[in-house]
């Protein structure tokens, strides 16, 4: 195994490191020549070192399967992905702008509903959304912010520009892997972290998250009590819940650790009950409070919703925030930015067709074999149709589903996702990637991670980047231009 860029050919796709066989893009030149200077032993040793570090550090995720839940080591490719700082700064502004508009939208939906009255989007779209919570009507969270933590998925098309693929506003995960990938890369390539490459650090995130959560506290005290609420050890993102609690010095609690009395939330400690001010919840809305939502839920806490309504505890993200995390609402976001902020959107959406609109639906049905069809409320890549790879039977099935429930589907032309090199068995090979940066919005502040989590489809030609379906990841470097 050796890195030979001359035999690396991304073909028709936009490759982020190599512009044509043998030629690295400018910010990547040093990395490319460094990698090709390593001999087989060096490369193997670095690859093994990374795998060992991941195992030792216990960086894992859980896969649900019929055979039970399996704790797997986090898959990471050691070659970092590079993004120039000048390009990133603009992208970062676009992400903050987007979340700001989304929060205006959510607040409007649960209060005045101006946007519906002005006819910007049909009322049914909201009322039919699986993520709309009528119980949240009339509530005004601190700073009118509902979605405090957002993971927005970006992709690059053949033109090399970033497009927004979707916004994750419910319980987005992955940020811990972004942080751990950097820790591993520092162990594996310490020689690259010097003054020649100015790589933006990512380690700030837990501090930023803590400060943002503290800004939500109903009690104005110097050290509010902040907890991370997890569904427990069997959740696929448990590692992350534990990691963030550890990094913030917050308590990691399960539903059973909390109790509500007099509309206040307490945790059970060895010294009795202790008041909780802010809950960073990693449990879905519907399982949060069995007295209001799903009655069967054993993960949540009875009375929690009311404690939040009374303003005695802050919830991040707020219940109901997912109303903007809907693949159909997504298609309206550029309009919403203009409507609420009176600004032009900095980041474009991927062109999309909503099946509820007759003309657009007809276009989708006619071109189904060229489209990616997504259901409105699923995540993790489930329930999707990849038109170009689908069988006739799958196409027919989706045609039926779309006609039966057009509200639930949107479609996008298949984007030619950009590629980056990964270290394969024998050489470097191009693989498709996306990027999930994390955006924080508190009462009066916002923050965007420098870079984010790069996810890679490890199978040749595949577009599926989800770790639950065989995807991998990469460290992402925002490097200052020079």
């Amino acid at each position: 195994m050796r890195v030979n860029w001359k035999s690396y050919n991304p073909g028709q796709f936009f490759d982020e490191l190599i512009s044509s066989p043998g030629y690295a893009r400018k910010p990547a030149r040093r990395l490319a020549s460094y990698l090709s200077s390593l001999n087989q032993d060096d490369l193997l040793q670095k690859k093994t070192a990374a795998e060992l570090a991941i195992k030792t550090m216990g960086i894992s995720f859980t896969v649900y399967s019929d055979a039970g839940n399996i704790d797997r080591e986090w898959p990471m490719d050691i070659i970092p992905r590079l993004i120039a700082a000048s390009e990133w700064d603009r992208t970062s502004e676009g992400l903050a702008q987007r979340l700001q508009a989304l929060n205006c939208f959510i607040h409007d939906i649960y209060n005045e509903q101006k946007v519906l009255k002005d006819g910007l989007l049909p009322k049914e779209l909201i009322l039919d959304s699986g993520n709309y919570r009528k119980q949240c009507m009339g509530i005004k969270p601190r700073g009118n912010v509902w979605a405090h933590i957002c993971g927005t998925d970006l992709i690059k098309d053949r033109d090399g520009r970033f497009y927004v693929l979707e916004d994750n506003l419910r319980v987005p995960s992955g940020v811990s892997y972004m942080l751990e990938n950097r820790r591993v890369t520092k162990r594996v390539f310490p020689e690259l972290f010097d003054s020649n490459y100015n790589i933006r650090p990512v380690t700030d995130y837990p501090t930023e998250l803590f400060d943002m959560l503290a800004s939500l506290s109903p009690r104005q005290v110097k050290y509010p009590d902040i907890v991370v609420l997890t569904p427990g050890i069997f959740n696929s993102a448990y590692f992350e819940h534990s990691f963030l609690a550890q990094q913030m010095g917050a308590d990691l609690v399960e539903g059973g650790d909390l109790v509500v009395e007099d509309d206040k939330v307490f945790m059970r400690t060895i010294g009795g009950l202790a008041l909780v001010d802010v809950i960073y919840r990693r449990i879905d809305d519907l399982f949060l409070d069995p007295s209001v939502f799903n009655k069967e839920s054993v993960l949540g806490v009875a009375g929690l919703f009311n404690a939040w309504v009374k303003g005695n505890v802050a919830l991040a993200n707020a219940p109901g925030a997912g109303v903007a995390d809907d693949k159909i609402i997504y298609t309206y976001v550029p309009k919403l930015i203009k409507y609420y902020l009176d600004e032009d959107p900095i980041l474009p959406n991927v062109p999309s067709f909503v099946c509820v609109d007759k003309a657009e639906r007809d276009h989708v049905l006619k071109n189904l074999d060229k489209m990616v069809v997504k259901p409105a409320n699923e995540s993790g890549g489930y329930g999707m149709l990849m038109g170009p790879q689908a069988s006739k039977r799958q196409l027919a099935e989706f045609r039926r589903r779309i006609k039966a429930n057009p509200r639930n589907y949107m479609a996008q032309p298949l984007i030619s996702l950009s590629t980056v090199p990964v270290l394969g068995e024998r050489s470097v090979e191009p693989r498709h990637v996306d990027l999930r940066p994390f955006i924080l919005q508190g009462a009066g502040s916002s923050y965007v991670t420098p870079g984010g989590l790069t996810r890679v489809a490890m199978v040749k030609g595949s577009y599926v980047v989800n770790s639950s379906q065989g995807g991998g990841s990469k460290d992402t470097w925002i490097i200052e231009d020079f």
Binding site: T56, Q246, T269, I270, G271, G272
Partner: protein, 340 residues
């Protein structure tokens, strides 16, 4: 303030890790004895199963209690009580309390678990066993060093310390068990002749001390040659030796001073402490039953009397173990009632 659930998990993490280490120490006594005892003597491997309190579970799985079965059972099997299972349990408890432990603490346990798991089969072999067991002991000690050197002295630390000390207090009584009554009658040597028995008995007690890293400390502080009553006294009653039962019970009482609502736990701990400190080891070893029930011995052979005498200490140790178990019950009642 520490969550009850987290308190329970860090407490068990410490107990499981300590139990794994002590099981490794126990097995190493036996393995060392193998090499020191004269040809023709046989070790009673099944007593290792009794000492760890697993007779029933073991007999359901194995017909024979020979070296190979016993070692496999205690080291490598997926049976809920082997070293590998205890390390798995310690790891799982640490994994679910990572947010509270020093970051390196979980990494160390995690590595220890994987390495031990990968080597467990080799550890069953006599040739690799010493190294296998010694590595476990060293890495467990490394863990305690890491905790002592990096963890803040908050209530989570108190629960870790309490779990470790209580487990160690209990396991040391089991190590003494191994030396006293369980082992000797199974050695096929002339028990009727006290003089021929003595050198082997000393070898036995020396190995017991070695397994507890206590031999050197014993020589420095006791100054007596190695003999049963002094070793038992040292391992049970020393306040200075960190693996002695009494020392560990004292540690528990010190920890209790820092925890809320600890009075019931303290009462029970003081009770065990008195039981250990005030025991007359000589009487238990040499007079025991004979002192209280002389009529029992009138028609017995010398060998029978020997067995009965030893049973005095055995029963006493059993009692200490039961009282230690009650300390745990008080702890659980006081602090771990998180889901009711």
């Amino acid at each position: 303030m520490l969550l009850s659930r987290v308190a329970e998990r860090v407490y068990w993490q410490a107990r499981y890790l300590e139990r794994a280490e002590n099981t490794a120490r126990l097995v190493s006594v036996f393995s060392a004895l193998l090499m020191d005892l004269p040809p023709g003597t046989k070790l009673g491997w099944e007593s290792l199963i009794q000492i760890t309190g697993n007779e029933k579970n073991f007999s359901e799985r194995f017909k024979l209690a020979k070296e190979r079965q016993v070692i496999r059972y205690l080291l490598a099997e997926r049976n809920g009580i082997s070293i590998i299972e205890m390390l798995a349990a310690a790891r799982e408890n640490a994994r679910t309390t990572r947010e509270i432990l020093p970051a390196e603490a979980f990494e160390l346990i995690n590595e220890l678990y994987f390495r031990t798991r990968d080597k467990a089969d080799a550890g069953v072999d006599r040739g690799k066993r010493y190294e296998f067991l010694a590595d476990i002991v060293t890495e467990c000690q490394q863990f305690w060093g890491l905790m002592a050197g990096t963890m803040i002295r908050d209530s989570a630390y108190s629960f870790v310390r309490m779990g470790r000390s209580l487990e160690r207090a209990d396991m040391t009584t089991r190590i003494v068990d191994a030396g006293s009554s369980n082992l000797l009658p199974d050695l096929e040597i002339e028990v009727d002749d006290p003089e021929s028995r003595e050198p082997y008995e000393n070898i036995l007690w020396m190995n017991i001390l070695l397994s507890q890293s206590a031999y050197q400390m014993y020589r420095q502080h006791v100054r007596e040659p190695v003999k049963a009553e002094e070793v038992v006294r040292f391992l049970l009653q020393s306040e200075e030796f960190p693996r002695a039962t009494s020392h560990n019970l004292t540690t528990v009482t010190k920890v209790l001073e820092k925890l809320p609502n600890s009075s019931r736990v303290k009462w029970q701990t003081d009770k065990v402490r008195r039981l250990v400190r005030e025991a007359d080891i000589n009487a238990l070893l040499n007079h025991g039953l004979l002192h209280f029930y002389p009529h029992l011995f009138l028609s017995r052979s010398a060998g029978d009397v020997e067995n009965l005498l030893r049973r005095g200490l055995l029963q006493y140790l059993d009692n200490v173990q039961k009282e230690i178990a009650k300390v745990h019950l008080r702890i659980a009642e006081t602090w771990f009632q998180h889901n009711t």
